[in-house]
Subunit: 216 residues, 4 copies
């Protein structure tokens, strides 16, 4: 285990500050969470991007959201092939074990994964096309979405369109999971699609009537 | 897209509160992040569990941590087989594109995924052994870790031991990624293992000298 | 170069201790900073006083804050006269090259520079009024602020009032820099005023609603 | 004062963490510093760069170093012209009022100010040559040093040479201050020149015998 190093001291200090203040003031809640288990209301599927913290945007405290974060907030289609599917495992656990009431897919502006997908689909990123590119293969999930935005010429507009498309692709793929569809049909689970504008603090939700994303 | 519903109104209200307060006060920073891109210092691999928010424990604001969250904070071994590996994609992006200086794996107490792994390994959870159980197949990553804790009789102690084991298994698997090992060997990337006690607000870090986890 | 002497040995020892511990543990981060450059979030303008270390108060690690320190944390008004203005150069670099999101002016209790200004304004410090007194001429920046506190009789109260005034004078002067005002108006830069009580560990922030400094 | 905004909440949290831990544990020392004043042993003149924190490198606690930080750790020559010289004021205060025993000038690798000076001297940075460029006019202090490194062809080597030159120029200029020279000659003040390699954690001190910088 020689490859494991001590925690950087600035994180030690920050943790100790949290322990002496936030934990101290809220310990009854943390103890409750520890002994009574978690009962989150929603699952959030969001990007790993350091600029997008859904707990901040929704003022969510410990215990509220079951959060899966991966590159570009993608959900692959249902594939019960016995392989390791981390995203599908998280969805299965949230929906069938925790019985969350909502699954929210949250996309965002300036998404590096989505930009990589565009570059790859245009043939400008040969490295991403290699079989052993994990990012490239992961972004393959979004390839079908690219066709809908291929004709947009302005690069910013195109990226934005595919970022929103990534939310819809994920939501469509969610419906291929039998345990999701069944609960959606029974009215015990609802799906939601959001797109967050980092710079402007904007939040748009997919609106069925408008067939598009509308500012919340 | 009939399966997509409007955002629950409590989330709309909270978002609008955030926009009028936190965003308003910090908009210069959000705009900076939007135009200048992200430069996170560390990648955090943590559990989806709603009770564990690494940003809270470390007082981390937008822009600091690139965060991947999956069930039981697991990293599967390096498998460049052309399939979709969301965790591997996140690691590849953080290490090779963002060039983070640290990867921190954060386990925690009362982990439902780890408990499921124990039940499964003891033969008490046939549903998890089914080929089409995404949670079961995902927890297979941790099976080798179970052998080290199989003999522990007290169920709480055993769970705790496997929760910590899950951090070490992930760190070992991280070293199977050539682009991780290369940077660790070159001293440009360090790996860190943590375990968080939800109820007590505790934080333990793996210590090489002690060959175990030690309170921070 | 006969005037340059070897480093005092207590500093050599301490540096070697730092190299063997802090550097050793964080070298991946230092290497990242060395190769990827700095991306600080905020500029801090603080006093040279040995008792005020902003990195300690905010648990800030290498890379977070671009820090200018001068006597009494003063910002002179915008004077593009071709002369050497070290403070203005630091502000220009932080705002236009590094594009920091925040400029924080941090004043503090028991400030020797501020006390000198009071003595000078009261006519009790003729040496500071001499043309060749660098401290006196530098504290001229704060003279306009003295008028607001001239009537306060209690010396401690008066000093405290001028220490806080020094923060506001600096923030007002900051707004005379076109490149600052432009970004403040555009919402890409925010200004903040703080006063630190050394003995009590207090921190007060200027509050627009209260028209005064309020404990954080 | 509408331009002054509340402190970003992540800094509020961090401050409160510091107050509850570091301050709490060390309050006797902070109170001592508040009532007994500062008695720093050394003045440090260092760069504003966010990657260079001299308190970290030398493990210095509150009260030890009187620290002036400006772009590229420069000291302009003695100019008692009645204008505002922030750097000269800081030196005057440290040497004549606080009577520090050492003045240490600390340069560093990857210095943006020094690189700007090189670009300007080569005629590649017309913006820095404008009368109203504060950075440009400030870097004029280093122009005489450029001649010594003008012939070095490798850009990294040249930058490194000028970074070290900036330390020597500052130390030479320090000797033009009568109150500095007098104390150096009397043996009550010593001057020291250092250069810090950010990525490697290196520290080199100017050595009279070697006529150059030598690893500490």
């Amino acid at each position: 285990m020689d490859h494991i190093k001590p925690l950087p001291s600035y994180l030690v200090q920050r943790y100790q500050g949290w322990k002496a203040t936030t934990y101290e003031k809220n310990q009854s809640w943390y103890r409750h969470l520890g002994t009574e288990g978690q009962h989150p209301r929603a699952m959030i599927i969001s990007c790993c991007d350091s600029r997008v913290h859904v707990t901040s945007i929704f003022g969510a405290d410990q215990g509220e959201f079951f959060i899966h974060r991966n590159i570009a907030n993608l959900v692959p289609p249902f594939q019960p092939d016995g392989n390791q599917h981390g995203t599908s495992a998280a969805i299965e656990y949230a929906v069938t074990a925790l019985k969350v009431a909502h699954v929210v897919v949250l996309g965002h502006s300036q998404c590096g994964g989505v930009q990589g997908c565009i570059d790859m689909c245009k043939g400008h990123a040969p490295a991403l096309e290699a079989k052993d590119s994990f990012v490239g293969r992961w972004m393959d999930v979004l390839r079908p979405g690219y066709e809908d935005v291929a004709k947009i010429k302005d690069p910013t507009e195109q990226a934005r369109a595919l970022e929103k498309r990534s939310v819809l692709v994920s939501l469509d793929n969610l419906m291929t999971f039998p345990f999701v569809k069944e609960r959606v049909d029974a009215g015990t689970l609802t799906l939601h699609g959001l797109w967050h504008n980092i710079a402007e603090g904007g939040l748009e939700a997919y609106d069925n009537a408008e067939k598009g994303f509308v500012q919340v």
